[in-house]
Every structure is written in C-alpha cells, then in structure tokens.
C-alpha cells in the first residue's frame, strides 16, 4: 500500500477495506481495531447499484424458490479467507456485501440430507455425484438490501496461548489473554437464498431441497464456529404452490355429489357437460374426476367404451395421461 493511502478513511467497500486498508501491524492491534470499527459503522446498502443488481438477480431467476434467511446469531463464514487481520469473511467481490457462498449452502445441504435419510437416487438429484452433476443450482445467498449495516466487530480471546500453541505447559490463571478482533455478520441480517433447476417439472424437488436446507440452517448452522453458536438462522419458505394432482383432487371434490347423481336417464347430458369442462384441462387435473365417473358408470354396469363414444372419449382422455 502506498504511503499516501494511509491518510485515507477506509472505503465503503468492506472487502476492499479489509484487504487493503489496514494501516499497520502494531503489537497492540490498534490499527486492526480501528479498521474493524470503521467497517462495522459503514452502511453499504445505501448504494443504489446494489439494490439494482439484487433486483436484476431475482428477476433472472424466475422459477426459482427463494428462501428468506435471517441470522439469529452472529455469522462467521469464510474465516479462513486470506486477510491481513488473519480472519477473513465472505464478502462479495464486486459489491462489498456479505454473502452466503452457494458452495457452503450446498455443503450444508449435503450434511442435512444425511439427517433426512435421503436415498441414493434422491441425493444424486439434489446434490449430484462425481459422475453426474446435480439437477439443482444452489445460488449464492445475497444480502437483502433492507439489511443496513450488516457487519460487526467481533472478538475471540485466546486465554492460554502457550498451552494451545505448544501444549508444553498447562493452562493457568496467570496466562496473558490475547484478544483477536475479526469481522462477523450481525444477528438480524437478512439474506435471500435461491434454488433453481434447469430441468422441467422440478418444482417438487426445489421445495424438498428448500425444506431440508431450512432445517440445516436452523439446526446445523452455516460457516465457522457453529459450536460456539455462530451461523444459525431463522428461515422463511414461500408457501408451496399446489401441484396439479392436488388441484385435480380439489376439482373432483367439487363435482363429487354431481357425479353420484348420474343415472341412465341423464347420463348423456351429464357426460357431455363433464367432457366439455374437462377436455382441455391438463391430464393430471382432470384425472380424478374422470376416474370417478368411470367407476360410477362401472358400478351401474353400463360402462362400454366399445359402443358408447362418450365412454370411449373418457377412456382416451385417461389413457393420454399414462
């Protein structure tokens, strides 16, 4: 770093500040503390460009399932990233916001999946294997622009440095504690996570994955120091849209009474009503109702698709599904 730069306040970009604007390595760590204070006090989300990028990213992922994850406890993810103050943090390269790496979410998903007891095929679809790519994409979790000031100065204090570094001497009350400052994400910070798939009809899988990931974020924790209570979230899932089969069942429940009233003398009129209603509906949607009609007519012993063109059409509409 150039000498002239030492006189500048740290920049708004937290990543740049953390990696390039430490003034000196003094023994009392004053400079590191001042830098962390400055980053914790900075508000990154006033920047319009990030809000635009966030909206653009969400718009690009139409069809994705979005989870809203709010940190219940501090979050320390990417502690091992290279940094002049020894402890790093996952900070978005371009925007300087904290983010949840997609690779970390996928790793958490793999752990949570074991708790859920998924079989091999399910794991292959959700997570992939070394032979086969996953069908799902675990996008980086973006900071929700409503979370202002997401950073906080954190400290970890090593009370018995000699004991930990060599193990040659026993820890005592006379050891010098060594406080180490680092940057973490404040509790209450909100992230937006997205899961998507390029395969068609993957909605059920996406919701299954979202449910498992939620469990992982709430119970296993993400990032470092989870045993010290870091990295636990409260997650909100979007309500799952009803599947075609469920909608078909609802449709049938609405018609149930009417189907039971079909008698030989009103059969033709009723069947033409139902055929008109159902003919253009998607196959899974019309299936329960048509099956009920067939069963009802079979009960009357009048089912004869060979002779009756209406019966034949019902048979054909049901057949298309299988």
């Amino acid at each position: 770093m150039r000498a002239a730069r030492l006189l500048l306040e740290p920049p708004n970009h937290a990543g740049l500040a953390l990696y390039r604007y430490l003034r000196e390595h003094d023994t009392s760590k004053q400079a590191a503390r001042a830098l962390l204070d400055a980053i914790a006090a900075s508000s990154i989300t006033k920047v319009k460009v990030y809000e635009n990028a966030f909206e653009r990213w969400k718009a690009a992922l139409s069809g994705a399932v979005f989870l809203e994850a709010t940190a219940r406890t501090p979050l320390a993810i990417g502690l091992g990233n290279a940094s002049p103050i020894e402890n790093g943090l996952s900070i978005h390269h371009t925007y300087g916001t904290p983010y949840l790496p997609g690779s970390a979410l996928k790793g958490l998903m793999a752990r949570a999946a074991r708790h859920y007891g998924l079989d091999e095929r399910q794991q292959e679809i959700l997570l992939g294997t070394t032979q086969k790519a996953a069908h799902l994409v675990y996008w980086d979790g973006w900071l929700d622009p409503s979370s202002r000031q997401p950073f906080q100065k954190d400290v970890i204090t090593v009370h018995h440095p000699d004991y930990y570094s060599g193990g040659q001497c026993w820890p005592t009350d006379f050891d010098d504690p060594n406080p180490v400052g680092f940057l973490s994400v404040k509790p209450g910070t909100k992230f937006c996570l997205a899961l998507s798939s390029s395969s068609e009809n993957a909605t059920d899988w996406l919701y299954t994955a979202a449910e498992i990931l939620r469990w992982g974020l709430e119970h296993l924790g993400l990032g470092g120091k989870t045993n010290a209570g870091y990295g636990y979230f409260e997650v909100r899932l979007p309500p799952k849209p009803k599947s075609q089969a469920e909608l078909g069942e609802e449709l049938y429940q609405g018609y149930k009474a009417r189907i039971e009233k079909i008698k030989p003398n009103n059969e033709r009129g009723e069947l033409s009503f139902f055929l008109q209603e159902l003919r253009d509906k998607p196959a899974p949607l019309r299936k329960p109702t048509l099956e009920a009609i067939r069963k009802h007519l079979q009960g009357w012993r009048v089912w004869n698709p060979g002779r009756n063109p209406q019966h034949a059409e019902i048979e054909q509409l049901l057949g298309e599904h299988t």
Binding site: P11, H13, K48, A60, A82, H93, T94, Y95, V137
Partner: protein, 262 residues
Amino acid sequence: MQTKAFFLQALTPVHPGTGQVSGSVIDLPVAREAATGFPLIPASSLKGVLRDGRADEAANKVFGSLEQMGELTLTDARLLLLPVRSYAGTFALITCPLVLQRWQRDAEALGLSSKLSQPSITGEEALAGSAIQYNNQVILEDIDLKVKGSSEALAKAISGLLFGKEEPDLMERLALVSNDVFSYFCQTGLEVIARVRLESASKTVASGALWYEEAIPAEAVFSSFALAKDAAHFAELHRRPYLQIGGEASVGRGLLRVLGGV
C-alpha cells in the same frame, strides 16, 4: 452473410474453466487469451449453452450436426468491461484502448456500422465517471490513477450499444485505463474464491481438500459477434434472456444476461 454484435453481462461470478490445473497459487484458473492474458468465454461454451441440448432438425440446421456444419457462427466472448474494487463508488467498470480498438476493428470487418469512440490513455491516468473519483483520482485496489478527463462520451456510446439507452450505473462507473493497467487487473484483479471440503463427522477440512478458484466477477461485460446466412438465426441468441455458462454451475456461477441488439 448477416452479422450482429451482442454482449453478455455477468450477474454472478463466471468461471469459464481451462480444464487444467495450473502451476500457480490458483488451482482452477479461468480461460484467458494467449496473447493478451485477458479473460474470455470460449465460443464453444457459448454455442453449447445456446444450443441447450437440442438435436432436432431446426437446431441441427443452426448449430450443426455430424453431417453438416451449422449456419450460425459465434466468436469468443471477449472481456469488454471489468469490474474492479474502487475506493470511491464501490467498484469501477474498466476498459482500455486495446479492447475498444479490437472491438471496432472486428465490427468494421463484419460490416457493422456501430462506432465506439477511441480516446487514448497511457500510463497512470484515466478517464473516469463521476461516482468513482476521489480527489481527482481513481483509486483501484492498489493502483492510483490521475483523472485526465470525463469518460462520459465513451460511457454514452457503450451504454447505447449494451442497453440502447444511458444506464446510470454504467455512466457513473466507467473508467478508461491504459492497456497496461487493464492487463494488470486481468491478471491480479479477478475474484479468487477459497473452497474447502469438510469431513462430515469431524467438521474439519479433509486432508488436501483446500483449493483456490478464480472467477470473473459479477458485473463484467463480454462482447461477442454472431455471423449467419440467415438473420433469423440471431433469434437463437435471445431465445432465453439469461444463460448459465461455465464451470461450477451448481453453486451458482456463470449467470449471464444477454444484451444488445445492434
């Protein structure tokens, strides 16, 4: 022959891999041009993604089959704008005279009428937008550049090519830097992501399972050209407004937006 210029804007970091392990600190580097070292997305990656696995007659005609060559030709998507962390304005979008000259030369060779102005800049100076200036300087990572003038005219031209209008985020962040500075950031200013694999039982890093990946950061813009016998084939470029290109797709890399309709 019909020709068309189009652009790709990265919404998430992009990793067009080389398929090779490098000898440097970075285990998985991104693809680069051999002569300049500028990152790029190979045309073959782009073509594969646009084809999207289709093998019907229409797709074979456009993209080719074993029997017949495809009628759509794509060029490598070269880096046009690189985002670099900036002291003021969070990040700057930088480009350089060489990049602009090459685009202009290729566009002229293909008979396109669009023009990009060709301002010159050398040494440690820059033409810069308003948001990234601090005390008449542009401070990028570890490099301080003196502001020689405004980048407004150039930003207007590039913004017009990309968006068909003046996009404020680009207008205020564009910086024209010298070829050397651009090259420096192409080598050292890309995003480096540390990855680990944990042992599930102990939650410690598995032995040897720490690696560094390079990625072209979000907000980068690439330029490419398409050539075809029939202009109708260009519809393939815009069949989907967003593409996912390159490696590490399942952890969210490589989401790109297709821009431009020259």
